[in-house]
Symmetry: C2
Subunit: 546 residues, 2 copies
């Protein structure tokens, strides 16, 4: 079968042929019956003169992932993919022509007024029972997938001293605490030299706070502070935000159920000489390592997973293979009672009507609109708009503009009702499917999903990225078999088999679900963990620096 029509239907869920396809036969993929373009699936693209199923003759060479006109497109004609108008023809194009970003006029952004609000009731799906993983149960009820000592920092100024101390902790202490997986310094570029009371400054502050409360850190919070910085420890972690350390605190009269803020402040008079600062950090770390080392994995239901899904280095296959598989898996997770977050405001902005209609309530739909409107205004204040999103790599991969990219990105969210919305840096407090508003920048989105409390991260990529985080395992899903072959020790799952026809979306979705349970349980490591590939925490700070 040379011309595979993958009809995505309402939920954009494709079902590809189950048998592998001869790579020499021209293969195109159409996502929706209304589409007048299809993308070329063959590795290396197709040459001019190739004949598609149905007899259409290619007039141009079309690279892999790029679009071919299935019918004549006169200037001004609407060009449809995913059943959605992704642009209008800027010139007359004959059937069989290459349709790329330079011949398409991008549609204007959908208005945020008059959207369908909570109009669609997704078909109820049966609950998934009995799935479990081995996790670290925390006192606050959350569950970690790793057992990590995190060292919170109020300000960039202390990064050098903290790093020095971390190297000593890893060398001298960590071998004595074999149940602790790692020691991670939560370095960042915030904390001073910033307009800390300006609108938007609450975002980086709560992001740092909530990262230090991530379930993988076991509620063991220690802070390194300089002393004179704007972001004082008590502002970063005000009373009440710190979890109770152990029963003794209650016995000792901490009746509010509050832990004690454990701070090493470098400017304290008590510190004489550099090594006294280092030793203070090492000493405090040991107290926390002792408690972390006593943690043991226990069997917990899959509903304790808090999964952040993200895509980066996207191509035209993202919305055909990896993201639909992640969307299918997202539905499985929600059916199992887990928490799933999808994000990336500029990559869903053009599909906002799909989201507001799928909102479980008017409140949720309104919160979605509020986050979109906030980001529109933020971009406008900087004289930019959503079109600033697409990258040279997206375009080389066949994505003509942000509308087309958004249609492929949004399918990661699956088909369930959206039951929650988080503003950037907020902590997730509920199960089900949540839109966690973040910029689309891979490292900023990951940082914010960490703050929201994710304990497992899924990242799809078409162009390829070695992305990883120190705090949480990242499962990487390749959209194309070629990438999965070349990056065989960086990609954890190959969703490209969906385009090849050798696996279905359901197959890959279930494979991902099982891999999640294995990775969450510590039975398997991701490739990013194997190589210790860690991207930096990069904060979203819409407020000025000073």
């Amino acid at each position: 079968m040379a011309h595979t029509v993958i009809d995505s239907g309402e939920t954009h869920r494709a079902s590809a042929a189950q048998t592998a396809i001869d790579p020499a036969v021209p293969l195109t993929i159409r996502m929706h019956p209304l589409d007048n373009v299809a993308i070329v699936a063959n590795d290396g693209g197709l040459a001019a003169g190739a004949v598609l199923a149905g007899g259409l003759l290619l007039r141009d060479r079309v690279p892999q992932g790029h679009k071919v006109a299935l019918e004549a497109l006169p200037v001004g004609a609407a060009v449809l993919r995913y059943g959605v108008v992704i642009g209008h023809a800027l010139q007359d194009m004959a059937a069989g022509s290459w349709v790329h970003e330079r011949v398409l006029q991008m549609p204007t952004a959908q208005a945020l007024a008059g959207l369908p609000m909570a109009t669609v009731k997704p078909r109820p799906q049966s609950a998934l029972e009995g799935y479990t993983f081995e996790g670290f149960r925390n006192r606050d009820g959350s569950v970690g997938t790793r057992n990590i000592l995190a060292i919170t920092q109020t300000v960039q100024c202390v990064a050098g001293v903290t790093e020095f101390a971390v190297q000593r902790i890893k060398t001298e202490l960590l071998p004595r605490y074999p149940n602790v997986d790692d020691v991670v310094a939560l370095e960042h570029g915030y904390g001073c030299g910033v307009a800390i009371d300006a609108p938007g400054a609450e975002i980086p502050i709560r992001t740092l706070r909530n990262i230090s409360l991530n379930p993988n850190f076991g509620g063991e919070i220690m802070v390194v502070s300089l002393g004179c910085e704007k972001l004082q420890p008590e502002r970063l972690l005000p009373p009440g935000s710190i979890p109770l350390v152990d029963q003794r605190q209650l016995d000792e009269g901490d009746a509010g159920g509050r832990g004690t803020l454990d701070v090493v402040r470098l400017q304290d008079d008590a510190h004489v000489g550099f090594m006294s600062m280092v030793e203070a950090i090492v000493r405090q770390a040991e107290t926390h390592l002792q408690r972390l080392n006593a943690r043991r994995r226990e069997t917990v239901p899959a509903s304790e997973l808090v999964v952040g899904v993200q895509c980066g280095g996207s191509d035209a296959f993202s919305g055909v293979t990896a993201n639909p598989a992640v969307g299918f898996c997202s539905d499985l997770l929600v059916r199992a009672g887990a928490s799933v977050m999808f994000s990336e405001t500029t990559e869903v902005r053009d599909g906002i009507a799909q989201l507001t209609s799928r909102a479980a309530s008017l409140d949720v739909a309104e919160a979605l609109v509020r986050e979109m409107a906030w980001y529109d205004a933020y971009l406008q204040r900087g004289s930019a708009d959503r079109s600033a999103n697409t990258t040279p790599g997206n375009k080389a991969g066949g994505l003509s503009n942000i509308v087309e990219k958004a249609m492929g990105s949004i399918v990661k969210s699956g088909s369930m009702a959206i039951t929650g919305v988080l503003a950037p840096g907020q902590k997730l407090q509920q199960k089900g499917l949540t839109y966690a508003a973040t910029p689309a920048s891979d490292f900023i989105c990951g940082t914010l999903q960490l703050a929201a409390g994710m304990n497992l991260h899924v990242f799809t990529t078409g162009r390829g990225t070695p992305y990883g985080l120190a705090a949480v395992p990242v499962i990487k899903v390749a959209t194309r078999s070629d990438l999965a072959r070349r990056w065989h020790d960086l990609m954890d799952i190959n969703a490209g088999r969906i385009a090849d026809g050798s696996a279905s979306i359901e197959d890959v979705g279930w494979e991902l679900f099982w891999l999640m349970l294995d990775v969450a349980s510590g039975r398997k490591k991701t490739w990013a963990e194997h190589w210790k590939l860690h991207n930096a925490l990069v904060l979203f700070n819409p407020a000025p620096v000073t």
Copy 2:
């Protein structure tokens, strides 16, 4: 002498008593004959009831560095320090009262119209001849103070792979190249997920470009790129920006005198597996290490120094001890023909009239106004103003507001004519005293001064910070003897002796000058180098993220 009047005069240059003072005797410092407040110099402050020289009775306990009213200050009265109005009394205060930030109304910002433009011709000072240091002369004429292999990165995505490769380079290669001091990965949070064409985006891009051209990297530029990122290598380092590597390139017909851009692109088809990426980086690094290893220090005039001065964790002594000493040294450097940059827009904004009047020409004065106006608008767009600058530590250290802080900060610039102005991220092209516009954030300012081409960094601090940079030696100057004593292995110079009366501003200024020549020559290491304390590169990006 209990009540030391340090009359700073026109250039704010104080000259303290030469004999050490009994610490038990109350000591206050007045900066200007017009001042109606003085600061308490004694470690630990002074108790209520203490009697100052001249018989004034302290009515309140006044902490070290804090101000005491020298006369009655009725509500609304102008409060003067450095001969400048730093605020108006919010309540009636008797002579001997503690004058702190809560009883002072901050003055409004000076208008940027109608300023004195290039009106003051600083008294010409004799050239300083014959001072030299041992530096690494580069092909472009610049001089390095260290010999470092830097690995430029287009985007945060590649940070994990690059760090893995750097560890291998340090372990396996560096020992074979003993003339190379270090290998430094230029990690940053930019490169993708950003509005790269929005106003202001040119700042982070040119910052990264110019950092990779820092004289300490010897013109050996290698780049690690992902492939799909917005900041493509050719945009980061366009043709013409890359220095010629060696004579052979000219012989081989690189007639434009352009070096070749040496890029490892992780997404290139040639890379199969993670280790092939790592090996490509290591292999490229070795080529550059071979050439760097052939560099030798040679005697060069002091005019080849490019010094960035900065203060952080400031207190009320910053403007009395360390910054005046740095200002004196800055004059020495300019007299020796060197380049000196001072920075920190929000910390000079309130002294703009002093700067525009000292500008060497109308063009320079107008450029100063342009940078201030740009920053005013930037802050206003974010609903902030210059008052967002001061920190809890500044206030605890006696600085009531940004006006008082600015008066103490600006003296770092010395007394010479200002001959140049740089916008953030631009590269310095001239000798003499330049205002390099940057935010006041320590790590952002340092990052931008690195981009400007500094080969030596001077950093004054009153509260104390362990600040350091991987690329350039940082000499740290303590404003107080107490800090210098406690942080004896972090502070390189103690300017607190000026307040004690045991050294003059000139003494400390010359000591700093000589230390600079020693550090620049590699004969001495700074404490930050000794402990390898490195702050992150933090970019100034006024444009939105996407």
